[in-house]
């Protein structure tokens, strides 16, 4: 038997407009934990999707346990013993844990009909054997994210996977759950499994991996023994140059209070309380970071602030004016800007040109009047062209380019340009650098700092702790819809913040 569980040799895969994998080679030894490291867009997910049978490579070959194979679809991959724990869970929300685990390979009675009681027993046995605690009868809708991930893992174990691929598994977990996951991975290794861990989190690689292979922009860079390298080494391999971990920041000059949130309660679209008795203050020239694991109310808070969700109780004051029940448009006019988390869904209209996108929030104003009070579209173009120059937005046709054809980084720049051009007093920013390349990330972070130096007050919601630690003057941690602690920069360490993100409202500490 070969020493390698997986050999992917010379894999090339292209999509329209991009070469995702360019002659990549990956060799994973039997019964090791092998990390696959790379930035967003490096090609890690594509490579593993090929391994799991979701795509076929344009060139190259794959060997599993020494035998050359052709993985045409996920069913073939499963038969070969490959299982995948997806980043975005592939779970049917209104099926039970058991139904999800056995989907596609259900135990049947003698008439060929479903036999779910046997299925439940099997799931329980598996859960006990590997220490993955789940309730076989619970519906996916009703269990936590950490439990859902365990269901994903059990799916692979139910089909007897020997090779288990984890795709960015910790993006949605609290620090406690991350530690539990690391334990689970160690246990799986002890049971003889081979693990591939796709991630860009350097700490986790150091915590649990034996070897690490690095991809950069579709190309294979190299493989290292994790014990022999530092996090900085891994980072520079990932990015290709010495990485500046900290952005240069001017000292903070706090102005008057611009935003005052008092005892806010907000329900989400389904009527569940997501923000409970939240109070917070924001001053001009301050960047306030809200740190927390996804799902603790951040989206609902921002939607409540900008007017997309109604506020049940409490008040929001902007520069002394009560905006709690104002419409979205009124808030924009009062000086509230918003850079949403999902830029394609809430930030831009991809069928509109950059000109038309640039004026989404102020097209009705008289400055765009043509003859007889009609709309003069050429005036949009002037604004857009200025923004393109100032923000260095790469376009094919200038202001006439369709927004949908821009890269993620350029789209984000266009959105920020639009918001900033309205000179907001308060700017709400959510996940501004998610999915962007390093150049765009640096530009956007510097621009946010620029706005803050001009006196704009910024609320930054991010799931990346180092982004928060880097950019923010004040850090508030949110957990279960409440602010758990507020600290000035330097008062608290990353570890302490991580712990607070997981707590549930104890030790509340208002920022006063």
């Amino acid at each position: 038997m070969s020493e390698y569980a997986i050999e992917m040799l010379g894999i090339t895969k292209t999509f329209p407009g991009i070469i995702a994998n360019d002659n990549v080679t990956l060799q994973v030894k039997n019964n090791e934990v092998h990390a696959l490291l790379g930035e967003n867009g490096a090609g890690k997910s594509t490579l593993m999707s090929i391994l799991f049978g979701a795509y076929s490579p344009d060139a190259g070959k794959i060997k599993i346990f020494g035998n050359e194979v052709n993985i045409k679809n996920p069913t073939v991959a499963t038969t070969l013993g490959i299982g995948m724990v997806h980043q975005h869970f592939k779970l049917v929300h209104n099926y039970t844990v058991t139904e999800n685990i056995v989907l596609g390979r259900e135990p049947r009675n003698r008439f060929g009909m479903l036999n779910l009681s046997i299925a439940e027993k099997k799931v329980q046995a598996l859960s006990d054997a590997y220490g993955l605690k789940v309730d076989p009868k619970a519906k996916i809708d009703d269990i936590t994210v950490g439990q859902q991930q365990r269901v994903e893992i059990l799916k692979t174990l139910y089909s007897n996977s020997q090779i288990i691929i984890f795709d960015e598994p910790t993006a949605v977990l609290t620090p406690q759950e991350v530690d539990e996951l690391m334990e689970i991975i160690r246990k799986l290794k002890a049971e003889g499994k081979t693990i591939v861990l796709i991630t860009h989190k350097l700490k986790e690689i150091k915590a649990v991996s034996d070897q690490c292979s690095v991809l950069r922009r579709g190309k294979y860079i190299g493989t290292v023994q994790v014990a022999d390298v530092s996090e900085e080494d891994l980072a520079s391999m990932m990015v290709g140059r010495a990485v500046k971990f900290k952005t240069q920041k001017n000292p903070v000059h706090l102005g008057k209070k611009v935003l005052d949130l008092q005892h806010l309660s907000i329900l989400d679209q389904n009527g569940n309380p997501k923000i409970k008795d939240l109070s917070l203050e924001l001053r001009a020239g301050e960047i306030l970071g809200i740190a927390g694991v996804d799902g603790n109310g951040q989206s609902e808070l921002l939607m409540g602030l900008c007017g997309l969700l109604p506020v049940q109780e409490g008040t929001i004051s902007l520069n002394g004016v009560d905006i709690t029940h104002m419409t979205v448009l009124q808030r924009i006019e009062k000086g509230l800007g918003y850079v949403p988390e999902d830029r394609q869904k809430y930030g831009l209209i991809k069928e509109f040109s950059l000109s038309e996108n640039a004026v989404l929030k102020d097209f009705y104003k008289p400055q765009y009047n043509g003859k007889f009070h009609t709309l003069d579209q050429s005036k949009f173009k002037d604004i857009a062209t200025e923004e393109i120059k100032e923000f260095d937005i790469r376009t094919a046709l200038g202001a006439d380019t369709q927004a949908g054809s821009l890269s993620g980084g350029n789209q984000q720049k266009a959105i920020i340009a639009r918001e900033v051009s309205l000179n907001p007093h308060v700017l709400l920013v959510a996940q501004p650098t998610r999915g962007l390349d390093v150049g765009a990330i640096e530009f956007i972070r510097n621009r946010l700092l620029q706005e803050r130096d001009k006196g704009t007050a910024i609320i930054l919601v991010s799931f990346e702790l180092d982004e928060i630690m880097n950019l923010c003057d004040t850090i508030a941690t949110i957990s279960n819809g409440q602010i758990v602690g507020v600290f000035k920069e330097g008062e608290v360490s990353e570890e302490q913040i991580g712990l607070m993100m997981a707590s549930s409202g104890k030790g509340e500490n208002d920022a006063k």
């Binding site: 979701a54 592939k90 779970l91 049917v92 929300h93 209104n94 989907l103 596609g104 009909m113 479903l114």
Partner: protein, 301 residues
């Protein structure tokens, strides 16, 4: 009480709506919206009418009823392939392709009538379906069977479990080896067959021929019953009973003295108005299958 005597009539009117609605439930549960149910009912009705009247005339006896019905179901199924291909393989706008089929059905059915019978309606047949000793038409039993079999298939068989997964989270189904395309085709074809069957039922029990007003919006009422009934067999059955009952009111009104003074047009409006109000009332929470109406793209993780 007079109303007890009317139950067979009421059930007869509910039956076709229920059959189509169960079909609509199957297709939407698999993730495809089928607006073409109205047109498919028309095609099935026209087929059954033509088939039966010709066979009756040729002396094939009572068995031709069954054959005509089956043929109607088959034609409904056949034409639903168009919608399935458009929606599933070509990722077309499902509302447009469905509407196209409705328009096509409108034209094709009368065209066939013109060619076969030189008139804008099919030739009247002499004797359609007859009620049994209880006064119930066979279509009522058919609809009951459709509900029970439909429930069993959807919730007790592996096929049904796979189908429902395709409507909620096709990527999850795909990742465990379920062929989403095949499942969705199955959902659409089942709805086509049931719609065709239902159209045939209408034409053999409620009228004596097929013409352009025969279906009269019942396909859309059935569609509304699916969402009002929250995509479950029990709910859909209840909704179909409600909407069908409203339709029946117009027919049975004449036998109730206090109702017979009301102009028939009010009863005509009733089912549509009730459906509309029902839609408004249920517009809150979304119980629809999560992937309903969204074409499935492989590889979009």
């Amino acid at each position: 009480m007079n109303i007890i005597h009317q139950i067979p009539t009421i059930l007869m009117i509910i039956a076709p709506i229920l059959i189509t609605a169960i079909g609509g439930m199957f297709t939407e549960r698999s993730g495809v919206v089928n607006i073409a149910l109205e047109g498919l009912m028309g095609l099935g009705a026209c087929t059954t009418a033509c088939c039966y009247t010709l066979m009756e005339g040729a002396g094939y006896g009572r068995y031709s009823l069954v054959i005509a019905l089956l043929f109607g179901a088959f034609i409904g199924c056949l034409f639903s392939v168009i919608h399935a291909t458009a929606a599933i393989d070509l990722k077309a706008d499902q509302t447009i392709s469905g509407t196209g089929i409705n328009l096509l059905a409108d034209g094709l059915t009368i065209f066939i009538a013109q060619i076969l019978f030189h008139s804008d309606r099919t030739r009247e047949y002499k004797l359609g379906m007859l009620p049994d000793k209880l006064g119930l038409y066979p279509t009522v039993y058919i609809s009951l069977m459709v509900v029970i079999i439909g429930w069993y298939v959807l919730f007790k068989t592996p096929f049904g479990m796979h189908l429902r997964a395709c409507g909620e989270h096709p990527a999850a189904a795909d990742s465990v080896g379920i062929n989403v395309r095949k499942m969705r085709y199955a959902g659409v074809l089942i709805s086509g067959a049931l719609a065709g069957l239902s159209g045939g039922c209408i034409v053999l029990t409620q009228t004596i021929q097929y013409t352009s007003g025969t279906i009269g919006g019942r396909g859309f009422i059935a569609l509304a019953a699916v969402s009002f009934g929250r995509w479950t067999p029990l709910g859909v059955t209840g909704a179909a009973i409600l909407f069908g009952g409203m339709q029946a009111m117009g027919v049975i009104a004449t036998s109730f003295p206090f109702l017979s003074h009301i102009q028939s047009e009010y009863f005509n409006i009733l089912p549509y108005a009730v459906t509309l109000i029902a839609l408004i009332l249920t517009s809150g929470r979304d119980y629809a299958p999560q992937a309903n109406g969204i074409p499935y793209e492989k590889g979009a993780s």
